[in-house]
């Protein structure tokens, strides 16, 4: 899986470089730099996208947002959190919030709202349903707030390439939602599971800028 390439911390990368140097008696400073550059995957920051009016403070820590029997297509979202140097941010905290399958947000409780911790590889995952269409928005979406010490807060949104609004061509049609300024936020949807229990799976990596 491609994201495994970037599961090294800077310390690990430097350590790997030094190990490589120890084995190569003729290594030069240039060689170290090249090795470092090859192993460090510099990343573009995730495009921000507006917070919207539906944020609610205090979401519970939870990775399973849907409850058994919830209508809507089951969805699993997973990804990793990096900074622009390619470091995996294992101290990042993510908040996600979304509408239910009918496009309605829960303001009274915390349905389809959660705070997610990442693991030692800065990976996260949550189970939910594909959100419905919010009457005030064009496209289905999930809101993200990502915080990590030493980094700029990231507020963004995840969109789905399968959204009917895109008519199967998100490359050309992502601008139909005036709030989508970057095609990058429209993520491919993979259908998995057996025919009786189809589930959508989306990967969404998040890249924060350093302060």
């Amino acid at each position: 899986m491609p994201w495994h390439r970037a599961q090294f911390t800077r310390r690990e990368i430097v350590g790997n470089c030094l190990g490589t140097v120890a084995m190569l008696s003729s290594s030069s400073a240039l060689g170290i730099a090249e090795a470092y550059a090859q192993q460090t995957q510099h990343r573009r920051p995730t495009p921000p996208n507006e917070l919207g009016p539906s944020y609610k403070k205090g979401s519970p820590k939870n990775t399973i947002l849907r409850t058994p029997g919830d209508p809507g297509l089951p969805l699993t979202v997973r990804g990793q959190v990096f900074n622009t140097r390619g470091d995996a941010l294992s101290n990042a905290v993510i908040e996600v919030w979304q509408a239910d399958h009918l496009g309605h947000y829960d303001f009274d409780q915390y349905r389809y709202r959660a705070q997610l911790a990442v693991d030692s590889a800065a990976a996260y995952q949550f189970d939910s349903v594909i959100p419905g269409h919010d009457p005030d928005r064009v496209c289905q979406h999930i809101h993200y707030l990502v915080l990590a010490p030493g980094h700029k807060p990231l507020v963004t949104q995840l969109y789905f390439a399968t959204d009917p609004v895109f008519e199967g061509d998100p490359d050309h049609n992502f601008g139909r939602d005036p709030l989508i300024h970057s095609r990058e936020l429209v993520r491919p949807v993979v259908l998995a599971g057996d025919p009786e229990e189809i589930q959508a799976v989306v990967r969404f990596d998040l890249v924060l800028e350093l302060l």
Binding site: E50, L51, P53, Y55, K56, H104, F107, D136, P153
Partner: protein
């Protein structure tokens, strides 16, 4: 279904309160110039509209005569606000343009670039300071005498949704997207208190007439009364079925006009309520099936007016 039940409850109690909206004036605007948001001057003699076509239009009240049309240059007007004495009007646009005009002459006073879409504006009572809330980034506090930024006013993340100066000029409040209400010293922008009690975003903040309290309303469908000194929510007006979109205080400070927003879709009509701030009770509540309130204020005789826009029609309603 719960929303439906709450909505039905609202409709059923409305006649008992006896208030209704009476159409006072229909103003025709160009087809591409729908009024997105409106502001009523403190004396009730002007209404200004932030228009889709990038202009801020100024009509006299009660005649509804168009008196000025100010240009924001190639950007949709997104916010408009009068100074406390009505002598200045400030407008902001979707591309970060801000302009101030003298009223009624219409002479341009100052032009600023704030870099991001303007969400809300406020002028200090002495007209020397301007607060600009920007979309998704920190608000700015400007010194209007020098035309320079005094400081930015950052939230934990994202931007602010509403700003207001206290009537005594001491304080500036911002309703921030991180759900907190921050209270600053207006002269320096130094943070003095943060109200952290609210869980949902506030879309409107207004100081009380004595500058000791802040009324904040938003997605929690409640108007919270926040103590300026301690930054705590002291009390809340009864929760309603809809989110609060705008607030306006009567000149005597006794009435708080709240405009609501239908969360099921902002194109839906929504009610207005005139709250008695002392008792926390409803003085008047009105709902008109075709009206989506986008501005409101008080006329000199104490009457409450509400504006709405329906394409080329800009309507001024009174609350009876």
């Amino acid at each position: 279904m719960r929303w439906m039940a709450l909505w039905c409850a609202l409709v059923s109690i409305e006649p008992a309160l006896g208030a209704s909206l009476k159409l006072e004036k229909t103003i025709t605007v160009p087809p591409d110039a729908a009024v997105r948001f409106a502001a009523v001057s403190p004396k009730g003699d002007w209404v200004a509209g932030a228009c889709q076509d990038g202009r801020v239009r100024l009509w006299s009240l009660p005649s509804g005569e168009l008196r000025q049309a100010f240009d924001l240059e190639d950007q949709r007007a997104s916010s408009v606000r009068f100074s406390a004495d009505g002598a200045l009007l400030v407008g902001g646009g979707d591309r970060g343009g801000v302009r101030l005009w003298n009223i009624p002459s219409g002479r341009s006073k100052l032009e600023l670039k704030v870099g991001e879409p303007v969400v809300a504006l406020a002028i200090s009572p002495d007209k020397t300071l301007l607060a600009v809330a920007r979309k998704d980034v920190a608000s700015l506090l400007w010194d209007l005498t020098t035309g320079r930024v005094i400081t930015d006013l950052p939230a934990r993340f994202a931007g602010s949704l509403s700003v207001d100066f206290s009537p005594d000029g001491e304080w500036l409040a911002s309703a921030d997207a991180d759900t907190e209400i921050r209270i600053y010293e207006s002269r320096t922008g130094a943070l003095r208190a943060t109200a952290k009690d609210l869980l949902l975003e506030s879309f409107a903040v207004v100081f009380s007439a004595d500058s000791k309290s802040i009324y904040a309303g938003g997605a929690d469908r409640t108007v919270s009364v926040i103590d300026v000194a301690g930054g705590k929510v002291a009390r809340a007006l009864p929760q309603q079925p809809n989110a609060v979109s705008q607030l306006a205080r009567s000149p005597d400070g006794k009435i708080l006009l709240a405009l609501y927003l239908d969360e099921r879709g902002s194109v839906n009509p929504a009610p207005v309520i005139a709250w008695n701030v002392m008792s926390g009770s409803i003085d008047a509540q009105a709902f008109e099936p075709k009206v989506r309130p986008n501005g409101g204020g008080f006329l000199g005789n104490g009457r409450v007016i509400v504006t709405s826009s329906d394409g080329p029609k800009f309507e001024v309603w009174s609350v009876r």
